[in-house]
């Protein structure tokens, strides 16, 4: 079996090609000239804070809306001219729960099977297979309303997988789930991708989630600001990051700036210093600025640091 790193852009097979995509809602530009590819078999995460344009990108990819400028192709097929074929290749999980609470799990899946033109026999086979994989076989006759949030999300996943899509796309699939249900979903997705070779594209606003992906793209205010493997993006920054929260960050920043060896930056009220850090430096800082410092911490660069380095904004304050 191919390992994760062997997918990626090396193969000429492209599952998704975004080319110079722009989209606006009236005056508001949601996407501005976004171009990137997703390789066949990749598990790809699109990361961005709320309002970054990722949901618009998702809607374009799902064929719910059509591109205004630029082009978008799925397995080489254009989403406008070959929408019908594209739709056959896609399994879509929207952010809103698309399962019907008044129907049983089996009924929900049966309606979906008809929408995708599965035969009666195939429907039965696929319902058994998919529900077996997702561990919901014993819930098939339960009304969806009676299921927990995590189980309901699995039913949705089952629904989108029924017709054996080549590309599974999900819009913030773990929203509203508790941490254990969230990691469940991740495990299923990873397992599916590895056993079936299916390409997976998902959006998320959770930094720690994006770290699970083979490659990530980061969107900020409708523009692509980063595209690579998560480790690679972090490695690029190198060294460590010290973050300091202070009672009066402006004043502390001035003092730190007078110290020649450091290059502090004030980002949304938090002081960040990157570079090589030894324990001496931390304790020095702590002793020297004891009165101003509220909290001081040190760590390896995270995806948040990548985001800050690329945009000059903190991830959570960015919208």
């Amino acid at each position: 079996m191919a390992t994760v790193s062997e997918y990626s852009v090396m193969s000429d097979q492209r599952a998704i090609e975004f080319q110079a995509l722009s989209f606006s809602y009236g005056d508001r530009q949601a996407l501005n000239d976004v171009s990137f590819d997703v390789g066949v078999g990749e598990l790809f995460s699109l990361l961005g804070p709320n309002g970054s344009g990722k949901t618009t990108l998702f809607r374009l990819l799902s064929t719910l809306i059509t591109p205004q400028q630029g082009s978008l192709a799925v397995f080489g097929k254009d989403v406008i001219n070959q929408a019908h074929q594209v739709r056959h290749d896609l399994g879509v999980v929207f952010q809103a729960p698309g399962v019907d609470g008044k129907l049983s799990v089996r009924e929900n899946l049966a309606v979906q099977a008809v929408l995708y033109g599965l035969s009666k026999t195939d429907t039965r086979v696929r319902i058994d297979e998919v529900c077996g994989q997702l561990g919901i076989t014993d819930r098939l006759n339960d009304q969806v309303d009676e299921l927990s949030g995590g189980l309901r999300r699995r039913v949705e996943l089952a629904k989108s997988l029924l017709h054996r899509p080549r590309l599974l796309i999900m819009d913030e699939p773990t929203t509203g789930l508790d941490p254990s249900a969230r990691s469940d979903v991740w495990n299923y997705i990873r397992q599916l991708q590895q056993t079936t070779g299916m390409t997976v594209f998902m959006t998320t606003h959770l930094l720690e989630e994006a770290d699970h992906a083979d490659r990530i793209a980061i969107l900020h205010e409708g523009e692509l600001v980063a595209l690579d493997k998560p480790e690679a993006l972090r490695r690029e920054l190198g060294g460590d990051v010290i973050t300091i929260t202070a009672s009066d960050p402006e004043v502390l920043l001035k003092k730190l700036e007078e110290d020649d060896e450091l290059s502090p930056r004030l980002i949304d009220g938090v002081i960040r210093i990157s570079g090589t850090v030894d324990s001496q430096l931390i304790s020095d800082l702590h002793t020297r600025y004891h009165d101003e410092v509220q909290q001081i911490s040190v760590g390896k660069p995270s995806l948040e640091d990548v985001f800050i380095a690329r945009t000059g904004h903190q991830f959570w304050g960015a919208s």
């Binding site: 809602y25 019908h84 739709r87 879509v92 399962v99 009924e107 049966a110 309606v111 033109g117």
Partner: protein, 278 residues
């Protein structure tokens, strides 16, 4: 768009979506009761309440009580309420994400409309037939032909109203907005359909009566109510001194209106709406 890919057939998709509507509706008991309860209550209340002050008919044998007069209108009101309830599900489906799922599936939007409208129409028709049982207590000479015709009328009329409801609901983002439209459009349409009071004749000398006459005459619901009335009681018990359309005209009007509203629903759903962009 040409459909070369094997699979999803128009008929199966329509059937499946219609079935889903039925299952959803009848599993929510408050909807079943809500759509039939209010008109039933109003029928009994007004029927008995206004009985003494209302009188149409030219002789004691053909005299119609208000309970009888008001029955066809109540029946149509049930169809209307049910059509409203079932098409509100378009808005709920959009909010819930089910609709988006259908829109990105390799099926035509026509199949989606057909499924929604067929499901809604069957539900409304079933509710109408249930209410029709109350007519067993009225002075009606039943024949099989009459029952078949009435059920057919109920079905077509249900379709007509479901299409209207669908077309409004498609563009709505919230169910509140939908209620407002329904109160401004469908309720007045019903009140001016001869459901509650007969259509005045032309040339009574009062211009208000003339305006009322014309407004009610062009209202497709007037023709539906009149059809129900004529098939229920026969044409000899119509209100004397008031205008009533002929059977043939009413059938044509009902069919043409239904076809037009269906066309409207098909047209409306080709547009994407702001609700998809939220």
């Amino acid at each position: 768009m040409a459909d070369q890919t094997p699979g999803s057939s128009f008929v199966q998709v329509t059937q499946s979506l219609a079935w889903r509507e039925l299952a959803r509706f009848f599993r929510q008991r408050n909807r079943v009761v809500g759509a039939i309860g209010t008109p039933l209550f109003m029928w009994l209340l007004f029927g008995f309440g206004l009985d003494q002050s209302f009188s149409v008919g030219n002789s004691p044998e053909t005299e119609t009580s208000f309970l009888e007069y008001y029955f066809p209108g109540s029946l149509v009101l049930i169809l209307m309420f049910t059509a409203i309830y079932t098409t509100i599900s378009v808005i709920e489906d959009r909010q819930a994400g089910f609709l988006q799922g259908v829109l990105v599936a390799p099926v035509s939007r026509q199949a989606m409309v057909a499924g929604k409208v067929l499901g809604g129409s069957i539900i409304a028709m079933i509710q109408g037939v249930l209410f029709l049982l109350a007519a067993l207590f009225l002075d009606v000479d039943w024949t099989v032909m009459q029952v078949v015709s009435l059920v057919a009328i109920l079905f077509v009329a249900s379709m007509m109203m479901t299409c209207v409801g669908f077309s409004f609901a498609w563009k709505m983002e919230s169910t509140q907005g939908f209620h407002a439209i329904m109160n401004l459009v469908l309720m007045p349409m019903w009140l001016l359909s001869g459901a509650f009071f007969p259509v005045p004749q032309m040339g009574t000398g009062q211009w208000t009566q003339d305006v009322l006459h014309w407004v009610m005459k062009v209202n497709p619901l007037t023709h539906v109510v009149s059809l129900v009335r004529q098939f229920l009681y026969g044409s000899d018990r119509l209100a004397e001194g008031f205008w009533e359309p002929s059977l043939r005209v009413s059938i044509v009007v009902m069919l043409v209106a239904t076809a037009l509203f269906y066309g409207w629903a098909i047209r409306v759903c080709q547009r994407s709406t702001s609700g998809d962009l939220k």
